[in-house]
């Protein structure tokens, strides 16, 4: 009986000593500092107004910066979408928009469109569009899809013939009376790369194939 009592005493002694040791160890560990995730408290109404004003000004800055940066940051703009499916300086017919897919958003389904991505770094570009059965237009865009020139068949006559070049290429043109005659339409591009969109109107749905064939005769090529 006494041996058992002694054993029990011994065990409780060890346990209490272990507990004290653990307590001392824990006391030596650095206390983890949990951040207080409560709503920040503002000292006074004046401080609150200051923070709101600060937030509004910063928000306005974030807004303005993001609006101005959008054209440079947008990865899926018209030029990027089109350059995935066509080469530069070649006129490519676009598929008609269908409910399932459209090459570019907000294209008029009553029109047939052809696109030529241009790159003027080597040579100026020559665009030749014979008039189709109905309204035909040629529009020029920068690589950020901003239009800088447009011409319709009514203004141009039977065949729309245009030459697109950069400012330096235009300055290098020989000053020849015959070359600068009115029948040669020279357009200056503000950027080296961009988009030429040729659109032809389809009056009635039955004429789609006819207009498409007529538009296929249009060309876009480097001029030398």
């Amino acid at each position: 009986m006494t041996a058992l009592g002694e054993l029990r005493e011994e065990a409780s002694g060890i346990l209490s000593r272990l507990g004290r040791m653990a307590g001392r160890m824990a006391g030596r560990l650095p206390q983890p500092r949990l951040p207080r995730l409560s709503r920040p408290r503002f000292g006074s109404p004046g401080q609150l107004v200051l923070f709101v004003a600060f937030a509004v000004v910063l928000g306005a800055i974030a807004h303005i910066v993001s609006i101005l940066a959008m054209p440079a940051l947008a990865e899926r703009n018209a030029y990027a979408r089109l350059s995935e499916m066509m080469e530069s300086n070649v006129l490519t017919m676009l598929a008609d928009p269908t409910p399932q897919q459209q090459v570019l958003p907000t294209m008029d389904p009553a029109f047939i469109a052809a696109i030529c991505l241009y790159d003027l770094s080597q040579a100026p570009l020559k665009v030749r569009v014979p008039a189709t059965a109905d309204y035909t237009s040629v529009s020029f865009y920068t690589s950020e899809a901003l239009a800088f020139y447009a011409l319709s068949d009514q203004a141009a006559g039977r065949v729309i013939e245009l030459e697109l070049m950069t400012a330096s290429q235009k300055a290098a043109l020989p000053e020849d009376e015959e070359i600068t005659a009115a029948d040669r339409l020279v357009i200056e591009s503000p950027t080296r790369e961009g988009i030429v969109a040729v659109r032809a109107f389809v009056r009635e749905r039955g004429m789609r194939d006819l207009v498409r064939r007529q538009l296929e005769a249009a060309t876009c090529a480097p001029s030398n």
Binding site: A78, D108, A147, S152
Partner: protein, 191 residues
């Protein structure tokens, strides 16, 4: 402890600023909007004179906007009373169109996708539409077949109508006041 309110303010400010940016590029195409009833047009959006909001909207959407010398687009997502265009309702577009060499009227869902239908019809051109005696058009947007100029809506909850005027002689140089009068959009009945 002053860092936490500061971080909180910065976070709120960024969310606020980017939220306004997102809203403006998805709901608008620039500041120089021209309104006529429910129609909204942005004559200078997409041209070299476009404001930063128009440039941002064009860059995000990835479209090739119409040059003003070519044509002019007007969009409507509501009727004249301000109700959203609902494809489950019958909507009429009635009126005389401004002078232009030709026009097209296109019906899409709110994301700008054409609505599939058996008739294969997503819009009218000036040559296809049936005109009334007085030269006005009367287009019906309806989920069910209708006589006359019917555009099937496919019972989409939200619709967008695009009216494009090509080679239109009017200009918007003197501001929004002289926007041409465009057809009225009215809701008739809902199913």
């Amino acid at each position: 402890m002053r860092l936490l309110p500061l971080a909180f303010t910065l976070l709120i400010a960024t969310i606020l600023g980017l939220g306004v940016t997102w809203f403006s590029v998805t709901h608008s195409r620039g500041l120089d909007v021209v309104r006529s009833g429910a129609w909204e047009g942005w004559p200078r959006a997409g041209t070299a004179k476009a404001d930063p909001y128009a440039r941002a909207a064009v860059a995000r959407s990835g479209e090739l906007p119409l040059e003003l010398a070519d044509g002019l687009i007007f969009l409507a997502t509501t009727d004249d009373a301000g109700n959203p265009l609902d494809g489950r309702c019958e909507t009429r577009i009635v009126g005389i169109l401004p002078q232009a060499r030709l026009w097209t009227l296109t019906l899409t869902d709110q994301d700008g996708n054409l609505i599939p239908n058996d008739a294969g019809r997503s819009g009218f051109t000036s040559a296809e539409a049936v005109y009334r005696q007085d030269g006005a058009i009367d287009v019906r947007l309806s989920p069910r077949a209708r006589a006359g100029n019917w555009l099937p809506t496919g019972a989409r909850p939200r619709l967008k109508v695009a009216l494009r005027l090509y080679d239109a002689p009017f200009s918007f140089t003197s501001g929004a006041a002289d926007a041409a009068v465009l057809p009225r959009i009215t809701r008739e009945a809902c199913l």
